[in-house]
Subunit: 538 residues, 2 copies
Amino acid sequence: MTTQISIFDTTLRDGTQSEGISLSAEDKIKIAQKLDQLGVHYIEGGIPGSNTKDIEFFQRAKQLNLKAKITAFGFTRRKDSVAEHDPNLHRILESGAAAAAIVGKSWDFHVHTALQTSLEENLAMIYDSIRYLKQQGIEAIFDAEHFFDGYKNNPEYALAVLKKTAEAGADWITLCDTNGGTLPGEVHDIVTRVVQEIQSPIGIHTHNDCELAVANSLAAVNAGARQVQGTINGYGERCGNANLCSIIPNLQVKQNYSCISDEQLTLLTGSARYISEIANVHMPVFQPYVGNAAFAHKGGIHVSAIMKDAKTYEHIRPELVGNKQRVLVSELAGQSNVMLKAQELNLDMNSNSEKTKEIIDRIKSLEHHGYQFEGADASLELLLRDAFGQTEEIFTLESFKLFVEKNANQAVVSEAFVKIKVGEEKIYTAAEGNGPVNALDNALRKALVQYYPNIMNMHLADYKVRVIDEKDATAAKVRVLIESANTDHSWSTVGVSPNLIEASWEALVDSIRYALLGQVKQEIAAEPTFGKIGIINH
Amino acid sequence: MTTQISIFDTTLRDGTQSEGISLSAEDKIKIAQKLDQLGVHYIEGGIPGSNTKDIEFFQRAKQLNLKAKITAFGFTRRKDSVAEHDPNLHRILESGAAAAAIVGKSWDFHVHTALQTSLEENLAMIYDSIRYLKQQGIEAIFDAEHFFDGYKNNPEYALAVLKKTAEAGADWITLCDTNGGTLPGEVHDIVTRVVQEIQSPIGIHTHNDCELAVANSLAAVNAGARQVQGTINGYGERCGNANLCSIIPNLQVKQNYSCISDEQLTLLTGSARYISEIANVHMPVFQPYVGNAAFAHKGGIHVSAIMKDAKTYEHIRPELVGNKQRVLVSELAGQSNVMLKAQELNLDMNSNSEKTKEIIDRIKSLEHHGYQFEGADASLELLLRDAFGQTEEIFTLESFKLFVEKNANQAVVSEAFVKIKVGEEKIYTAAEGNGPVNALDNALRKALVQYYPNIMNMHLADYKVRVIDEKDATAAKVRVLIESANTDHSWSTVGVSPNLIEASWEALVDSIRYALLGQVKQEIAAEPTFGKIGIINH
């Protein structure tokens, strides 16, 4: 039997069922690109036609030329109808996805209670749907919902569902522990039986309701399953889906399975953190393999043993998954990452120069204070270009003031007053805004537009706030991420402060500095005109 | 073989190795009392004599008359010395603990590398220490550190360690997967062998580095181990220890083992949340069994199935572990979710009444304007109780003003001014804060504390901002989610506005209104005193 395991990522579909996760089409595109670099084999993107975000995602995903197969999720045809006329199956075909994942019932109780149809009609719904998709030339994956509960209740019927699916030509048949209540021993026994009975390749899809999703996925693979469905960081409904960030190294480093290449495995930690940033979800430090504390050593006895031989208290070499050992209480920027970034920008960064040491120290210190550059490329680029003298000072801040007032039953008023110097000239502007950040943005651009008219071509595309230390949320530090865009591309910047407004200002300033990189300041001939300003003052 | 499993809690010892957890003696006493109510059999309290907190804990714990056995942790005697004169063993005996847990080496590599002594001397260190403790009449538990790694490297030596321990009279021998790198199949095979070779009762102690700590504990029990060491919420070094909140229900509800009584099992969720509050660690909503989202349902299809029969999407009845079903009200779901929520609150909501229609219309309209109640249970509850006349007006807003100022190279200043009416009385307060929301929170509480002193017992635990319409981020609407907590539980509220400050204010007000549900206003006799206010104005 092959030891190659196919990795099916459903972060963009089942992962978004997680409480508090809501991804825009742009978020989904970014995550898909990151997943493709990581080397997953299938990327389930959403439900075509269910909402405008998913429609946009499938349209844009086609143009990305990813190696991974973009997969559309959907349901078997409706009861008492015809697959050829099913609008949902049509939307999957129209989406242009390379593969379809179709969910259907395999627990007789669910057929009666939830679907309210006959066991025979359910078999027909599954058979017709898969066969139709195969006739249309698309790869078809069948998700057997509640398979383990179904098998425990009525093994004959659960197996009949799989046989019917195989007969219809499904490329993969995925056994789902939808409620997450099955134990590893049960999974092992049931998958063993399925592999004996069914010729099609088998996949596994588990949930973490018993804190056993990873163990259940391993048990299924050990019993013969060859595809694992899961999500990055285990995002998903209720207690989450099976966490690919733990499953992949468990299979690949601890057992002799191959999932992705060893080089791709070193991208695991970075990918997990990047995706948590995009999803705007705090990543627990204690997360296995990829968490910040996964290889952190605190106790003195442990540390002294570690210094003799890391193997004494580390179960794998952290570098294998792109993570690293932390001994002291210091956040660490991967030096190699920074070097790689510098290389990308054609900055001559030699690993043992004094300047490199200074830059790394500066990044480490910022990270220690709560900055994170994984989701803020433009801020990192500015920092590096600053160090190499490749930036010009656009302006210096003298002060800003912000005023927000609400009277009962009246709209809120936000006003910002910005005093800056551009070269030798002092500029003082005032602007209103829909909110405090908008008011600051308006006032700052109003001050700069006469020198840099292009500044009107960019806009802020997304704004995220995260409390860094949750001990006392309104008194703790916050990290603001701003995404800006013009017609050509988008860029992200970061600001950190105990004060939400100051953190926003910092990210705002970086965003504007980045937009103006390489732009030449216009000299003002006579009186400045403010004709253009109306458009930002809405 | 007995199906009674002994539960050994090490939250107060190994749990405190968790990054960010630091417990005072008072914290430890509170947690020990809670653990005792929950029915764990052993409470490992710390290392006597290692620090003043632990000394105080053991002194005070003696007077609590707990049913659980207070256990002191320590090390085998030093190499080349005598157990009778070992200061560490003496401190254990002096602590008055009912049991001692002694850790020793069972991996030959560690004996050579970390301990730097001979294999024979290591055996003697273990034998002497256990025998001495038994002679002194105390229960003795031996923690065989790195047992699984040791067994894989040198099974004869690892087993020799256990045999020597049994010979010395240890009451329990605990096999530790100290580095957390062992897989469930290995644990099962190795424990099976140990149980064949060793007559003493066997315990298991696992770590979560592969996200397999729970599975490994179950595998050990299934192979014959009869004691499980773990921590509440899985606190512990690196990726944490085995999570008792998942292990206990997995053993007791899913298999036929007994750990604690069924009544005690219903205390599990409350205990987990209480201990997370004392430890001042944010409890992930997605935590299995005891998390806020563990039985939360979002998708419309799931919700309609749940209403037909909860078993369709719930692996156990949440009441068994003291948790409850939550229906996340989102646009996807609709009327049935709201009805279920009302039912949960004992509100008489008839599906075809006029009032029901009004409430549903109101929620739909709010959702249309960007509100999301799936992450804001408390706001939804307030909305429903408002509609049923079950709330009282705490205050009315006259106005708030917020002022933020930054001068170059100076710290930002945030000041808030709040004017409200409580009954007929007008109150005007001013407060500073670390940021704008903190300043508003401080000013509002300052105004209310004289009427509702309890308001000081709650705090804001998390704060999130998301732009709803991402087209133009700083001019678009934002959604603010605030999570608040007191010692008993946590709740979430939502605010939406184009203005970040107004949205934050709205979520803040809901949070406070929810906290004060059912609380009686205190009448102010004479002049209001502001003595208490200092504590929020830091």
